[in-house]
Subunit: 566 residues, 2 copies
């Protein structure tokens, strides 16, 4: 494995050995390490000093179930702090097969010419993006697959990233060539756009699986992991219902974002539930699929393909977060409306959480009626057309609220809160407040813990543990849901790493990786100017009771400030 | 003197004795003290926890030349940090005559009803603002003067403050009843609007001058100050040309903002110079005035009344900052166009610096051609109409640049840089970078120092000294230009304070007050989450040479971080 460093201004590249202090990191932890080592934390996120990093996790490359994720990172155009967003699809596996431990894009072109960067075993080519510029990700990916072959991996941006919008992510093609596995959060698509890179095409055909130090031990550990994962009941729930299973659960706890976070339960929840999603897909048939793998080798297959009433595929996947933010949060109880919105923001290469939250704020400002899916789609089209209103929305919930004068902005560090209202699920609220990433459930979701989620006591400890574990999984390249298997057989993480790399790490390696990643991220943020004053939820959430529980966010500030005292 | 505390939610008030640690402060220093003592630094600037403070300076109340200024303050909706903006006009004098050392507006109404708050010797009345809501400040002030008598002082907001725009200031009526003395910077008009206060009317008729401990000593000190001020050559320059005298000077140094800070000298500078301004006013006659006092008793009278070609007053005053930001910065070399823009933003109650900078950024984004005054006026009308584009512009340069995707944003801590390009006038650049107020020339202008302004060496010391002095003057309630007199006869500050209050302060009192104010401001900002990472100029200014000097901003970061080590 080595480091592939590309200068986007000079259009040159180097392959470098892996520095010693980067060797035992991957994915999210490696992104943080590189940012601390190489990027001036106060730099302009869209300026030449920022870098865009792609780093497969430590376990990537072997089609371990749900463990081939790619971490994308840089200084966030949305939060101004550290940013890692990860995704499934082909990108992680393909990079690992080309021996790339991290791909680092530097500088930015002075000629403003858009490029496609093509990686293969032969090296790196820089090709004019030509008429791909301006295309949505679906059309652009189809053209790239036609141009470079159906088996290539692609990471690309849509018009949102080209426009420099802070809600733009980096889309990756999935197992089937569909470009909807998005490293969504924090504006990394805008960062890629600032470097005038429309797409990175990775042709793994001349590559190979990364070497394994102890193949037999690896196979044994893999078998134990597979067994644990296969036997976990959540694996089957996610297989059948996908993340959308969360709709009813979160609604039950009174934490389902509803009409711009003004309520925590939604009268139309059943219509947008995982159960209804599954029934709809089954009833419509056609191209619909109730379970679908985003990566090769995944046993969970939590993804889905949602068809229109005529059976033609509309979008894949519909995730719970999109249902929460573009469904209940907009007062929309119609899965077809959610699917159309989802597909439209996917095609723009935008984060459906951030845009859903922005639309909720816009609705509160009077720009749409809650429940009006057609109007919501018009507003998304404003983004595509680059109108002033569209650009406001495309920068996300915080900018939308500031510009339009809305107080009820659901965001922390400028990043929209995801589909768990922190007043009802307070441990996740602690995560939103304190995560170096800004509000983000994947940084430490606590909803599965057997606690009273509205009791402020003990939530900081709960969040700490979740944040450490999640940072660990993100460093491994493991999906959140691979965690069900790892949690049931924690020794398999140690065994897999030791077998893969010939290391001798201990049973606490997941937490050790998580702690190291968080420490690096906090160091970057400290240099960028973040303090405990930024580790706070919006003031209105501490004051405004959330129906039906009537909860406010009342975890004491001392508790928030204690999260990283370990 | 006492503290008048008004609760805008309950519409009640109390008069309280002055706490001991507030006694020896006034104006800017007292604003900072109150914020540190009473306002949670992390609060939502437009939420119920923020407070809007009016504090006359320590010397206010006696019609000392240029020393009756009012400081307005709170947590800034624009920067998120400490904010004090001061203005001439009647407000300071009237409050002092009612014995008010500080007026503190708290909380905000739940019923959202707009009010006029009327202060008089009899107490405080809360009256419905009625049809004043939505009126520009000129019409609203005229109506208020008709309603409450021609001699009242008024502090009011325009539509910009009502809309919650971050560029909104608080306008004050001048000696002649014209509402154009604006506490402009940092969005204090939005803060006033969040409390649903359209205007504060102050009827000083039953009040009296504050008591003087040693009247004879006061008169002697006043005489010495007057003499020093009268004899200073700048007093006469400012009398004849106003602040517009700076146009040619700044152009000469290559620091005149031109076409969104892309150049430092402007081919049309002569057309917008102080000399041309004076000639135009003299030639047109009519209601024009080349010198005009904003406060009673002012000997300098640096203000002006600019007439249209037909001799009818268009706007008063045209200041250099407006010429720099709405003239050369927009490529406009026509004083009539500048005057129309100035009057339009005044009427909206907006900061002409912030809006001028925002329009420059908008021009770079392609929304207007540089030089097109008619189009600039249309864009200001977008603000009045509250369109999405208008709201973008009304939040100032940083928001405009972020939303429209412009890198060349002239702002620090979210506040627009004023009319001295920091690459050519580096000491002022240090002030912009490090002032707790955000970019603001009045926090420490260095252009009059006899140094090479493009040499990075020594600029931190120059800025430090200027920042301390200016914070001192702002705490006294003294105009920048009263400083010419005080600098020539520094002992008069000590003598005036000791005579007025019966104190025994020493000759370094100006610096002592300045240091204390800055220390308090930095403490508030520290609690609000500011660090040295925020004390930086925009990255592009460190990289992009400014024609014609070719200067970049190259004061070392260690120098910036040393400014407050005294």
């Amino acid at each position: 494995m080595n480091i592939l460093r590309i200068n986007t201004r000079t259009r040159t590249y180097t392959r470098e050995p892996v520095p010693e202090n980067w060797e035992r990191l991957g994915g999210r932890g490696l992104v943080a390490r590189i940012l601390v080592d190489e990027v001036e934390a106060t730099c302009d996120p869209l300026g030449p000093k920022n870098k865009l990093i792609f780093a497969p996790g430590l376990l990537v490359g072997h089609m371990l179930s749900s463990c081939d994720r790619i971490s994308v990172g840089g200084k966030s155009p949305l939060t101004g702090g550290v940013k890692e967003a990860n995704a499934g699809g082909r990108t992680g596996l393909a990079l690992a097969h080309l021996g790339v431990k991290a791909l680092i894009l530097e500088d930015r072109p002075e000629d403003n010419e858009w490029q496609v960067i093509v990686l293969s075993a032969a090296g790196v080519r820089f090709e004019p993006a030509g008429d791909l510029v301006g295309l949505g990700v679906y059309a652009a990916a189809a053209e790239l697959l036609a141009r470079y072959g159906k088996e290539v991996a692609i990471a690309l941006i849509g018009p949102g990233g080209e426009m420099g919008l802070s809600a733009a992510g980096v889309q990756n093609v999935d197992r089937d060539g569909v470009p909807s596995r998005i490293a969504a959060r924090g504006g990394l698509g805008a960062l890629m756009g600032s470097k005038r890179v429309k797409a990175i095409v990775i042709d793994p055909s001349g590559g190979q699986k990364p070497p394994i130090a102890h193949p037999e031990a690896f196979r044994a550990a893999q078998k134990a992991f597979n067994k644990a994962l296969q036997e976990h009941p959540q694996t089957h729930t996610y297989h059948d219902y996908g993340t959308a299973a969360m709709t009813n659960m979160c609604n039950h706890f009174g934490g389902l974002p509803t009409r711009n976070f003004s309520a925590g339960s939604f009268e139309g929840a059943e219509q947008i539930s995982g159960e209804h999603l599954r029934e709809t897909i089954l009833a419509r048939g056609g191209e619909g699929e109730t379970s679908h793998a985003c990566m090769r080798g995944c046993m969970i297959q939590c993804s889905n393909v949602f068809p229109d009433p005529d059976g033609k595929a509309r979008v894949s996947p519909i995730e719970y977060e999109t249902i929460g933010l573009m469904g209940s949060n907009l007062g929309i109880d119609d899965l077809d409306a959610v699917a159309r919105l989802n597909q439209a923001v996917n095609d723009l290469g935008l984060d459906s959480i951030e845009i859903g939250a922005a639309l909720g704020v816009a609705a509160e400002a009077g720009l749409m009626d809650f429940g009006d899916g057609a109007r919501a789609l018009e507003l998304v089209d404003e983004i595509r057309r680059g109108t002033p209103l569209g650009r406001i929305l495309g920068h996300g919930a915080a900018t939308t609220g500031k510009v339009l004068g809305v107080e009820r902005i659901p965001a922390v560090k400028g990043q929209a809160i995801s589909a768990y209202d922190p007043r009802a699920i307070k441990g996740t609220g602690v995560t939103y407040a304190t995560s170096p990433q800004g509000a983000d459930h994947t940084s430490g979701l606590t909803i599965r813990a057997k606690v009273d989620h509205t009791d402020p006591k003990g939530q900081a400890e709960l969040s700490r543990s979740a944040q450490i574990n999640m940072a660990g999984y993100d460093t491994l390249g493991a999906c959140l849901f691979a965690g069900f298997g790892f949690a049931a057989a924690p020794e398999t993480i140690r065994d897999l790493l030791n077998a893969r790399y010939g290391w001798d790490v201990g049973a606490d390696i997941l937490q050790a990786l998580g702690r190291e990643s968080l420490k690096l991220e906090r160091e970057f943020n400290r240099r960028a100017g973040f303090t405990p004053a930024h580790d706070r939820l919006p003031e209105w959430m501490t004051r405004e009771p959330l129906p039906p529980t009537g909860a406010v966010f009342d975890v004491p500030e001392e508790d928030l400030d204690s999260v990283f005292n370990w």
